[in-house]
């Protein structure tokens, strides 16, 4: 690493993100193996479809825990819309869909990121609840159990759509942003472009944690 980098996430955030992301992907793949007969072969790879179901169920538990941790960790920053600035950003679609001379500035997370967070939180919770009922259907009334399957499928449709857009915008759609979830250190110009308001706030307060720079006296422990 080198100078000019700013720390934007800590280790706990990145670990939480990746446990959630990998468990989510694993659930998508194992779920597909059961949703489509043409994907049944995925079961063969793990010694049978019953094993695939078991993997799906237990990875679901990991997903549940990391989802709860993630919601607790991020809902203040990413779960609450701030008006009117977020509305201005939404009206300009964040400059992603048509040309915008100056994208309205928002806080650390823009409304697109907040929408993704909320979708994962809400539909993730829906997946957990419907999934648990599907796991133990005999203790619930059949009229309830029946609706868990379409809800679970709906959750997949929504989460997968948002997941892929998230993947695209977090990598090649915004070059330089993926480092936020790999090393945790981002280039200043990229950061300033994507999160200008937060950038200015941090700059004014002098709260940036810069690579190779001693933190301000009031802070301790970070290098």
């Amino acid at each position: 690493m080198r100078k000019g980098l700013v720390q934007v996430t800590d280790g706990k955030e990145r670990l939480g993100h990746w446990v959630l992301a990998i468990s989510c992907l694993c659930l998508c793949v194992t779920g597909l193996g059961m949703m489509f007969h043409s994907f049944n072969f995925l079961g063969t790879l793990v010694g049978g479809l019953a094993n695939l179901k078991m993997i799906h169920n237990y990875v679901g538990l990991i997903f549940t825990i990391s989802l709860l941790v993630m919601i607790r960790m991020w809902w203040r920053e990413a779960g609450v819309f701030v008006f009117p600035e977020d509305m201005d950003w939404i009206k300009a679609a964040g400059g992603y869909l048509w040309h915008v001379d100056k994208v309205p500035e928002t806080g650390k997370y823009n409304p697109g990121q907040k929408a993704f967070f909320l979708v994962v939180a809400i539909f993730g919770a829906l997946m957990v609840v419907s999934g648990l009922i599907m796991w133990f259907p005999s203790v619930f009334p059949v009229g309830l159990v029946r609706w868990m399957y379409p809800l679970h499928a709906l959750g997949f449709v929504v989460i997968f759509a948002f997941f892929f857009v998230h993947l695209y915008l977090g990598t090649i759609g915004n070059p330089g942003s993926v480092q936020a979830m790999t090393t945790g250190w981002m280039e200043k110009p990229v950061l300033k472009m994507l999160h200008p308001k937060w950038f200015k706030e941090m700059e004014e307060k002098g709260e940036f944690i810069e690579y190779g720079v001693e933190p301000k006296p009031k802070e301790t422990g970070h290098h």
């Binding site: 100078k3 000019g4 059961m34 949703m35 489509f36 007969h37 049944n40 079961g43 049978g48 479809l49 019953a50 695939l52 179901k53 400059g95 992603y96 869909l97 599907m134 259907p137 005999s138 059949v142 159990v145 029946r146 609706w147 399957y149 379409p150 499928a153 709906l154 997949f156 449709v157 997968f160 759509a161 892929f164 857009v165 695209y168 090649i172 759609g173 915004n174 070059p175 330089g176 280039e187 200043k188 110009p189 990229v190 300033k192 472009m193 994507l194 950038f199 700059e203 940036f208 810069e210 720079v213």
Partner: protein
């Protein structure tokens, strides 16, 4: 096999004497064990269908409008739907349509997910936790392919159970209903695209215990399998293609050229 005629089993409840020979024959042919049961004050035994009991005579005391009591016997079991909810939801293909259009169950493929248990409008498939598999009547498929009647039909001493070519059996059922008169009706040929087990009932279907009046593939199953399943492929393909098009046409967001970047200076730490 596919050249074989579509078969229908007719259960004429008005001829049933509740001897339960069919229940015993079913267990014997399918080598299902008997389990300890409970006396519930009725001859109906066991109290309900179980993983090891694929057919059951339901005993019911029915008081008609004239306060006259009737003892109703109805042989319960898989109806072998033409449009079967269980086959529709089964993720592994364990539940399937046989060449005879009956609903078969390949237990080796069953993963014990119990989706069929919730989906079946007749509440037929039963789960056995110790084997983690689901069980139900297969209309003695192996017997049918050898030209033999199902074990239950073979055992029936009164002619309440008969099996034969679909149209002939439906005709026979309607002839019997005409003969019986009153509320007598044929149950099974009008829903889920026709079942391969049909009843002649003396009374309206709502009179009978555990018999759905208008059985259908549940709406939740239709939304799930006919709407959301294709939508999931469409949605997944859509976002992948959409992202690609976005990258090609709109392009990635890049930071402004180096010269306009003042961040380093104002920080003063570099």
């Amino acid at each position: 096999m596919s050249t074989k005629p579509e078969l229908v089993k007719l259960i004429d409840t008005t001829l049933c004497t509740a001897c339960r020979g069919c229940q015993v024959a079913c267990k014997q042919w399918n080598e299902m064990p008997g389990l300890r049961t409970k006396q519930t004050g009725t001859y109906q035994n066991p109290p309900d269908l179980q993983w090891n009991t694929w057919t059951l005579i339901r005993f019911q005391e029915y008081l008609d409008e004239n306060k006259k009591i009737h003892w109703l016997f109805r042989k319960d079991g898989c109806m072998h739907c033409t449009d079967a909810a269980c086959v529709k939801v089964c993720p592994s293909g364990a539940l399937h349509y046989t060449p005879l259009k009956t609903v078969g169950l390949d237990r080796n493929k069953c993963i014990g997910c119990k989706e069929c248990v919730a989906a079946c409008p007749f509440h037929i498939p039963r789960y056995n936790a110790s084997t983690d598999k689901v069980y139900k009547c297969d209309l003695c498929y192996t017997r049918l392919t050898e030209g033999l009647p199902p074990a239950c039909v073979k055992s029936c001493p009164t002619g309440a159970l008969t099996i034969g070519e679909k149209n002939k059996m439906i005709k026979k059922a309607y002839a019997r209903v005409k003969q019986l008169g009153g509320d007598a009706n044929v149950y099974g040929d009008k829903f889920v695209d026709g079942t391969h087990v049909i009843y002649v009932l003396q009374y309206k279907p709502e009179v009978y215990d555990e018999l759905p009046v208008k059985p259908s593939v549940p709406l939740s199953v239709v939304i799930w399998k006919d709407l959301l399943k294709p939508l999931s492929l469409l949605g997944a393909g859509g976002v992948v293609a959409g992202s690609f098009v976005h990258y090609m046409l709109h392009g990635p967001k890049a930071p402004p050229p180096e010269g306009t970047n003042e961040a380093g200076k104002t920080e003063g730490g570099e």
